[in-house]
Symmetry: C2
Subunit: 484 residues, 2 copies
């Protein structure tokens, strides 16, 4: 399958000169990259970006090139954390790392190094020590020095086994090795404490039923100890899957919003293809923001790029699907930024949606769209949703540390059979509407069946159909899934 | 078995005139009482209180009888909640209650009406609605109007079944019936929402393993709906077990501390007999407070009086044991107040210890003693503690809403075989110390074996031995438990 990505990525070339003012700047073109090869599809699906529009062309600016106003929302803790060491000291750090006890990272551990290192979890500066872990587990928030709280609903922790703990002994610092054996980071002033998996799972997911994807992929097989400490990331994390240029850091996103003179940024977190119901919602949000008096609201279409469960659509396919949605004009490329959120997915519902929102604060979004059952899934052993579909937005609206973020609850969109398009659900004529869940959408695509006309732009739908065809070609024994 | 209680209860007779200034005053002698009979031992074990010392005798006061300073710590939310309706309107409320849909309370539901009605959970004014429930479950705290947080770690909820929900229909208010069928309270402006037991259990206990006492007693058999609303308690909750006079409300305790001119109140929560290690700790705390410059620190010895698991020592036996400890002078009656905390026990470790501390803020204590593994127990299905024994005090020290409370962590006391008494553990001569857990203590008493001399005052120990003898007389088939 040959995929080509044509998302309009608005990284103006002028941004690199802007970045060089900062010694932490990540000059992607010259940095050695820390890579692991994505198993799923090795060939680069992205090389050039033909649709880049220089920022100044998007909207005529009064003082194009001059300093723009600072960002719209303060990062948690007041300053964005950036833990990538300056290039000038990298050599010395690697020499030091060679002398330290080594801890091997998994692919998902590396995603967390990426997330924390770029400041998505600001003010967190590394893997959690026990104090932070307990606050996250019990309060979904961390107390900062001035006595206020920042949100922190997921434990961001690094597990080690007994043998590794023994090798670390009483060392204060350890070196973290990437999946390819390269030095990724140093973890400073470490603290090792017990990894009570049952309690972590119960308090994070509200269930201990077998079959939770992150639990099975990460926690069950992890060691019985957690190691916390301050991270020094030795080089920017790269995946060499052709999508690295879409992995904009919170700093890059903030710079981009400033450059575009956004006066509102609304973030849309997703891990599924964009259908016309999503688009309706995003376009409606923009309209509402304009009605509220904002002049230049920018949409951050922000697909999650880390670990997802096996039956979710892979990132590269989703990115191509998103690009078709923009090409087709379903979303407006001039007021949309597409970038990848590097976090792995927990499927922890109301607990996780807080993380999704908090990370977008750090990326400069001051509005967050939340829908039905965010970060939810079916209960792994019972025939019901794992979470009450309304709890996500309720918890989000009350969460400590998210006060400064404007939460925009979804209106429910569904397929209106009277006009053959996605529309906001009208309860007075409920029978006219079809609800097409993500599961049902995937089942349609898997079986090669077309969804109702107007559900998704045809070019985007075609990306999904081709993906499922390729799966069936690779795995001939797989049964076609019925579109129930 | 004949028990007599001789705890020095310092409720000065002058306090009743003080109380009558408040229309919410609970004049126990004239109120109709809402009673249910404790199953365990029906006969009254307390009738007179021979050792009452008028407050003014305890410590000479400059202005005895004049207004004393207000309490040492503000109740959560700024004002103590008192939901018992004035006697003057009670008749009308009962007439109204007769017209409302009725909800039958269990014994433990009634304990919660007691707890909430007297303001232990201030600023909570009833059983939680869904917003409060979700905040408690996810954040262990509630946001109050000024944007700050009060601690609230346990969901205080009332469950109803499908049939009751159906009967309530769209009524705004319901009447709550006590175990004897009497009208206990009206619940106003009710909200009914789903009772997801699995999620409630996982997030509260950090496990869903079978065998959690509160879960088995309360939650498993409860209905699939929760009903929240504002409580109006129709009359003070009484149990008629001879111990009601020890059930001082937060207001009564605050008045008592003021009357005694306490300049520090340190609370000791317990659900076990007091041994000399506890006493050492409490006496040492007093000494430390004196060294800190406090002139009149008062100990609130505050046994939990609600639901406890079946192998815990019952409240009446514990109260008699505590009285012996005071009679013997192991604790100083002149600087100690013994009262009963009416809450049921969850055995939810770090989550529950926050509730235990928060309720004592409302009762006027500004110091809280916390030990190893507070509110903990063995894992119900694995051979280990359910909670990390250090997590309780760590979580307590970081909990939102408890900032104003001074947390006093335990020093570990153990039996020092060199001097034959309980002493602070000295790790440099660890082998000289014996650790005698509550479980081991109960096993000694059950088997009639004496603990080492100096572990507990003999008269207090005798109370326990008699209790276990009476159990064996009642249940001859019970095997004596080995003192392992």
């Amino acid at each position: 399958m040959s995929l080509s990505l044509t998302i309009k990525l608005h990284l103006a070339s002028s941004s690199s000169s802007h970045l060089t003012h900062h010694h932490h700047a990540k000059k992607v073109t010259t940095f050695e990259t820390c890579c692991y090869n994505a198993k799923i599809r090795p060939k680069p699906i992205y090389s050039t970006n033909p649709l880049i529009i220089p920022a100044c062309r998007v909207r005529p600016r009064v003082q194009c090139g001059a300093m723009v106003k600072s960002s719209l929302i303060e990062p948690d803790g007041g300053a964005l954390v950036d833990l990538v060491v300056p290039e000038s000291v990298r050599g010395a750090k690697i020499i030091e790392a060679e002398t330290l006890p080594k801890v091997q990272l998994t692919r998902i551990d590396l995603e967390w190094v990426h997330v924390v290192g770029e400041g998505w979890a600001s003010p967190l500066r590394g893997f959690m020590r026990e104090d932070e872990y307990l606050q996250s587990l019990h309060f979904n928030s961390l107390r900062v020095k001035d006595g206020s709280f920042v949100n922190m609903s997921l434990p961001i922790v690094l597990a080690i086994d007994d043998e590794t703990k023994g090798r670390i002994g009483s060392s204060s610092h350890v070196a973290l090795l990437g999946p390819d054996g390269d030095f990724v980071a140093i973890l400073r002033s470490v603290e090792i404490y017990k990894h009570n998996k049952e309690e972590r799972i119960a308090r994070t997911w509200g269930t201990t039923a077998p079959g939770l994807p992150y639990v099975e992929e990460v926690i069950t097989r992890a060691g019985n100890w957690l190691i916390g400490g301050d991270l020094e990331v030795l080089k920017p994390i790269k995946y060499n899957d052709g999508l690295d240029d879409y992995r904009l850091s919170p700093k890059q996103l903030r710079d981009e919003f400033d450059k575009r003179e956004a006066d509102a940024v609304f973030a849309f977190q997703l891990r599924n293809p964009v259908h016309n119901g999503h688009a309706l919602l995003m376009n409606d949000t923009r309209k509402r923001l304009l009605e509220m008096g904002y002049k230049n609201p920018i949409l951050l279409l922000h697909p999650l790029g880390g670990f997802t469960k096996v039956d979710d659509v892979p990132l590269d396919v989703r990115m191509e699907q998103h690009s078709k949605v923009l090409e087709d004009g379903v979303l407006d490329p001039e007021t949309t930024i597409v970038a990848i959120f590097p976090s792995p997915m927990h499927y922890a519902g109301p607990t996780e949606v807080q993380w999704h929102a908090k990370a977008r604060i750090n990326a400069g979004a001051n509005f967050y769209i939340v829908g039905r059952d965010p970060a939810g899934m079916g209960h792994p052993t019972e025939k019901r949703d794992l979470y009450d579909p309304d709890h996500g937005k309720k918890v989000l609206s009350m969460a400590p540390g998210l006060e400064k973020l404007n939460i925009l609850p979804f209106r429910v969109a569904a397929y209106d059979t009277k006009v053959n398009k996605m529309a906001f659900f009208d309860p007075t004529r409920a029978k006219d509407f079809l609800f097409i869940s993500g599961t049902k959408m995937r089942a349609f695509a898997r079986s090669g069946e077309n969804p109702p006309e107007g559900f998704m732009c045809p070019s985007g739908w075609n990306v999904l159909v081709k993906y499922y065809e390729s799966l069936q070609a690779e795995e001939p024994s797989e049964q076609p899934v019925l579109s129930t």
